[in-house]
Amino acid sequence: MLRVTQTKNSLLDGATIADNLYTTPQDCEEFFESLEKPSKDPKKFTPRKTFIRAGVLTTVRGSAYMEYGNTKVLAIVAPPHELMRASARRMNMGVINCYVNFAAFATGELESVPERERHLGSMLTKALEPVVCRTEFLNFQLDIRVLILDDDGCLLSTAINCCGVALVECGISTYDLITASTACIYRNHVFLNPSSKVEELLWKHRGVQIEAASGSAPEEHGLVITASMDTFDQIAQCQQCGYLSPETYVKLLDYTLAVNKSLRQLIRQVLTTRVREQHELDLREKTESALEDKRLKEIIERLQQKGLDEFIQSNIKEDPYVKRM
């Protein structure tokens, strides 16, 4: 809907004329009209369908996959390894590096992808630094990789949630569970967990803004992403962009904190089932190995009773081909 496909026709004198193929501010207007407006009381929002699974890959120690509505994210955490850059070594804490990659089909806008990857990577690092016990791996670095399979808004918060699960799966000690969520305000409508369409509208807002009459309060628009650790009510990261009055900011912050609380329940549950699952697997493995031990023991016993030659004879099965000849 809001995709821009701009073609340029170069004229002989070097001037360019942009073709009318792109979406116009008018289209944005129309899209906003067609959009389903959230209720005035955002507390009664319908949560997105969420799916989280820890340990989806066998090749790495810690991995997690999360679907948040249509947003699909895969996070990979490898055990810490020694610092490669000597300059960072002087720090008295371990270093976290986050790399975010978009799958080629994840988003329609390909131009801005490298910039967004960098931005998301640095914000993700900032959000995860407070939650990991970095004093435990001095002079080591922890690489966290995130692959975005599909983008439908709330990218950063979903990535933070997913990385939190992957960290636990990898066995990295953390101070708490980390959860994150997004809220945005556009034309006095509060959207919780905005979809990519709404987020895009917000960025393109600059074009469709209605001129605020001088003297009246300017129109607020903005996005708040909060990552929190709820055991001690700590906020690990709070990023805001747009233009908000302090009161609106606090309001949005509280909304996101409420969403974080409900997400925390879910993540907790996922992690406990995962641990239980692992425990059952371990138990089964243990019984299997016990059975194996028992079998070997029996064989050895028989061996001791019968003597070597007899034992070999008793174990040789007649070869059907040999018999035929």
Binding site: M93, G207, E220, I235, Q240, P246, Y249
Partner: protein, 296 residues
């Protein structure tokens, strides 16, 4: 941030100073270090400013270019920030060492200036949908003495204030093509409105207290800091971009206190900066006395 070697004893000393509201250099928690600001120092740029905040030294140049506006915002001009952390600021920046920090500064500035409410992009428009000004704001960190975010945003705002755009007249040619004529007179120029341009205020948490304008040593002691971007509109402070940095977390109430502190400081800083810029402009005017020794 640039690395400063600090022993545990030194850290404790700084921490106790902050608790007593009497910091190492005699300031209280709400005080800034002395600032020195000079505009119009680079002759090849349309606007420039140099800011010295105690040991932090920033030089900003604004270059202009004519560009095509983005189709979704045909009436808006463009801004582009670039930060260069040169290796003489601190040896840590040698090679690619400063690029992370530079990237962070660029992102926070971009974020703060993103909203059309925070910066009047309309004033950069020449012909809607066809031609607009694009400003390149190049920021050079000459010396790093802590509190880079604040210093960089102050200097950028001052440089934008100092920017002179040549007056442009357009003539309509055939086939809807317009031809721009740029005025020959160097004094025939327009200025950019910076009333709402945001300022970044770093509120640093050391121990249980929040303070502004941390020195490099204090930055080394802090657990977490929050960068608040304050934009003044109709005498009311607004937030145009906030994020936390420094690898720590804080309670919601602490954060709200930090925000309040940042907003009030940003408000004061903004009025002071505007006042000083006006004063300098009135005193010096278009005829600037020849200064000898650029960095002094």
């Amino acid at each position: 941030m640039a690395y400063v070697a600090l022993s545990e004893a030194e850290k404790t000393f700084i921490l106790h100073g902050v608790e007593e509201d009497f910091r190492c250099d005699g300031r209280s928690r709400r005080d800034y270090r002395p600032m020195e600001l000079e505009t119009g120092v680079v002759s090849n740029a349309s606007g420039s400013a140099r800011l010295r905040l105690a040991n932090t030294d920033i030089l900003v140049g604004v270059k202009t270019e004519i560009d095509v506006p983005s189709p979704l915002a045909p009436e808006y001009g463009k801004l582009e920030f670039f930060v260069d952390c040169s290796a003489n600021a601190t040896p840590d920046f040698e090679g690619r060492g400063g690029s992370d920090l530079a990237q962070e500064l660029i992102l926070s500035l971009q974020n703060a200036y993103e909203s059309p409410q925070a910066f009047d992009y309309r004033s950069l428009c020449l012909i809607p949908g066809q031609q607009c000004w694009k400003l390149y704001i190049d920021i050079l960190v000459l010396e790093c003495g802590g509190n880079l975010h604040d210093a960089v945003s102050l200097a950028a705002k001052a440089a934008l204030f100092n920017t002179k755009l040549p007056r442009v007249t357009a003539t309509l040619l055939d086939a809807g093509i317009t031809d721009l004529i740029i005025s020959d007179n160097p004094y025939d120029c327009t200025r950019i409105g910076i009333e709402t341009a945001p300022l970044l205020v770093t509120v640093c948490k050391i121990g249980d207290y929040c303070l502004v304008d941390p020195t490099a040593e204090e930055e080394g002691c802090s657990t977490v800091s929050i960068v608040v971007s304050v934009s003044m509109r109709n005498g009311e402070p607004y937030l145009s971009g906030t994020h936390m940095t420094g690898g720590g977390s804080m309670h919601r109430d602490t954060m709200q206190n930090c925000l309040q502190l940042g907003l009030s400081i940003g408000e004061q800083l903004n009025t002071l900066l505007t006042k000083m810029l006006k004063q300098e402009q009135d005193r010096v005017g278009p005829k600037r006395p020849k200064t000898v020794g650029f960095l002094k």
